[in-house]
Symmetry: C3
Subunit: 333 residues, 3 copies
């Protein structure tokens, strides 16, 4: 495996195989399999789980890692082409990426959406540039419109929980103080569709996911026997649901316009998950969230601390599945 950029790059069976490898590595550790291998981790944006779980994953396979954080110990990088670099950015990714790649056996990059042009971000303009500059195996640690490590971990969490392949998966918009990127919702709706689930996107007016995201998920559903629909009716969406996956995202129709977005969000404070949300769901409907979650803004304390929450188990799976990704990329035997 040379690239781990998007679950959509893999057939459903390939994802299933990768998850099986993850479970095998958990059951039967291979503590020396990546001895001498080095993973570079480049974070253009903050991280908690991704940083810790990748460093721990490399260690548990016998390898090691280094971390570069522009703006924190390293100068800022330029991503725009053709400009006169007389501003804050001291180095262009056209130099930085191939240089870092030369020091490691695989490189992971996190680069959130630029947040100006929806088309550029959905088209992964920045990440495609960075990918083209890296001649080593490359892992997407969250790009403008994708987060395949999160999606793979969530798939494993669904399997671990015994959620039926054709179970009902509700991805719901929840409240947040500001507009967040589309990476996780886009990756999540596709993942659940690719798994074969009946996926419902629940969101208030103005927060429908972009057509391109819904269409790609629809194609995955068609191939796997699932379905993808959307609604703004909470009880309808959650009727019979096995999983409520809560996530914050910014309005695509006011992309890059923070004020208009905030105006649209005003009055949506009740899009904070509470127990009554589950009244039409399966009795043991699970609550998932990729974290970080703002308590009592996106999800209420009593839900996060209650019987439905799978947020910690889901995050723990990040390390588990990433060990499989690294193994596929770097293990020679």
């Amino acid at each position: 495996m040379k690239r781990f950029m998007d679950l959509a790059d893999f057939e459903r069976d390939e994802v299933v195989d990768l998850l099986a490898l993850a479970q095998r590595l958990k059951d039967h550790p291979q503590p020396d399999v990546l001895a001498g291998k080095v993973l570079g981790l480049l974070f253009l944006n903050p991280s908690l789980r991704t940083l810790a779980s990748f460093q721990a994953a490399m260690s548990r396979l016998g390898g090691s890692s280094f971390v570069i954080t522009p703006g924190q110990g390293t100068w800022n990088f330029e991503l725009k082409d053709g400009g006169v670099m007389d501003g804050a950015a001291a180095e262009h990714v056209r130099e930085a990426i191939p240089v870092l790649a030369s020091y490691c056996d695989a490189l992971g990059i996190r680069a959130f959406a630029a947040g100006r042009s929806l088309a550029d971000d959905l088209g992964e303009k920045q990440f495609k540039l960075m990918s083209s500059l890296c001649d080593k195996p490359l892992v997407n640690l969250e790009s403008a419109a994708n987060h395949p490590c999160q999606a793979l971990a969530d798939w494993k969490t669904l399997d671990d929980l015994g959620v039926p392949r054709r179970g009902r998966f509700v991805l719901s918009w929840v409240n947040h103080p500001r507009a967040l990127p589309l990476a996780v919702p886009a990756a999540t709706v596709h993942m659940a569709a690719q798994r074969g689930m009946d996926v419902v996107v629940l969101r208030p007016a103005g927060f429908a996911l972009p057509d391109a995201v819904m269409e790609q998920a629809g194609r995955a559903a068609a191939a796997s026997g699932g379905s993808v629909t959307e609604t703004s009716e909470r009880d309808t969406a959650l009727a019979g649901a096995h999983v409520l996956y809560a996530k914050e995202w910014g309005s695509p129709i006011h992309y890059g316009d923070g004020e208009a977005e905030a105006e649209l969000r005003r009055g949506l404070a009740d899009w904070c998950v509470t127990e009554p949300w589950f009244r039409t769901a399966q009795q043991d409907c699970h609550l998932m969230h990729c974290l970080p979650v703002r308590r009592n803004v996106a999800v209420a304390d009593h839900v996060l601390d209650g019987r439905r929450s799978r947020v910690v188990a889901g995050a723990a799976n990040r390390m588990t599945v990433q060990m499989a990704v690294l193994h596929r990329m770097l293990a020679t035997s």
Copy 2:
């Protein structure tokens, strides 16, 4: 060992055993004993020695480590319960701690005093919450009112120097531009008392350590055959002293009130250790300090650079004793 939170949690003999293990590991390295083990290090406050010495200690035992620093590459954490998280903190420790614990075999946490309520800080309100959220072995890298790794290193330094068990140990308040936490003075007075020393706390008016700290140290002294007293008379305190342990701390009577504290501190600039401080002490009385030390504010250059200073040797012992703590927690053989 599942928790290393406070030397007061251990019998004197247990501490002596731990120090013996530290010396054995120094004399006879075990470079593979923690192969495959991962230590997570979470720093909610800055660090130099703790960060470097724990990472080096894990390496020297064959393990590895990762570092998470909220505010530097990771978003800020919320520690308060029940609030609406619409401010700067993007993640609550109720999620962050168990997730980090899931990636590592032991977790170390540094969280200085909140500095608002003396009772909350002495009661370790924050650290008890974080400890309750961690199902892996946990090391206190300095909490609101404790710093057991520092105390353990200091005990070893006293042993290395041949300071008698019943020697005279003077913990003296020294000057600093602002109020510092009580963690090190509280840990130090207890450590010296538990070792069995005659402990004198020397401090100006208004800087007496809280009763709870003095009482706990008194109980340790009673059990070990030492004593704990306090005074504001320098020559009296230091008469016959084997060790002067200099430390800065904020006034407990103006806890959380920076202005009143600064007013009280005005005129205390002579609480900067100089050679005349030692006129009544043992001829070879040692100067100790946990570092960082502000030169010519807390201790004068000529003392730090002179024959009495043991500050570097003391800091070097941090790695030595922490290897023993990690070995007790994580070695399976």
Copy 3:
């Protein structure tokens, strides 16, 4: 090897031997040779290549490393002696350096020029202090007036490219938004002279390198059979050149005076390398730069992206040569 501070501390043959070791380690990896060894890395200034390449180099030799970054997770350090430390710096290097040295087997330190006194910086006042405080092997990760790891990597790049020993090496000043240190130009002119090349320093009026730098390079040239000259005539400098090494540096005659320096730099925007610069050079004249490079300020896009550029290959050699330095310092067999 106890110190790697300056290529001028080594005979030419010793440098050649070190480069041969670098190539041997590249051809025949020794993945366990530094097992159990710990490298400490102290960055008083930002880094990309140095940080990543040293951490990767230690990993590839079986060792490990830790990173300390004052101002980022660690408080600021004081370097001035004799002062009252009541400002921003919480710890003096007189404590910090020996403490860090006690945790590691070798220490690397980056400390850029203070930028106030040219004599102090050329005399390496700060680095000599820090070196005197470190009783472990010490690597200069870039000091006020030197960058020996960069120079060693550049030498290897010249060898890899087959540039003749007596080839023509042009070090040219190029434009930058502010005055940069003299470390790389000083190290580069000496390295090329020590290699035996015909070295030309090309710079506009006011940017001549200090006499001490030129004289030391001249002595190296005399010993190795090369030469060192300087000019402000571009076509003359580049006539028959094998290599154009572009670098930014501040005017020595306005050292520490940003405004006067900026005034002098006004009108020098054409000191940005473009293809016409090469009209008198060898047909395959190489473009080198230590990175980071500001595109279209110091070097134009079409040169960096064109056939002449060796900037990535040069940076990749950082890891290669540093493995040899670490091997010399720490390998026992």
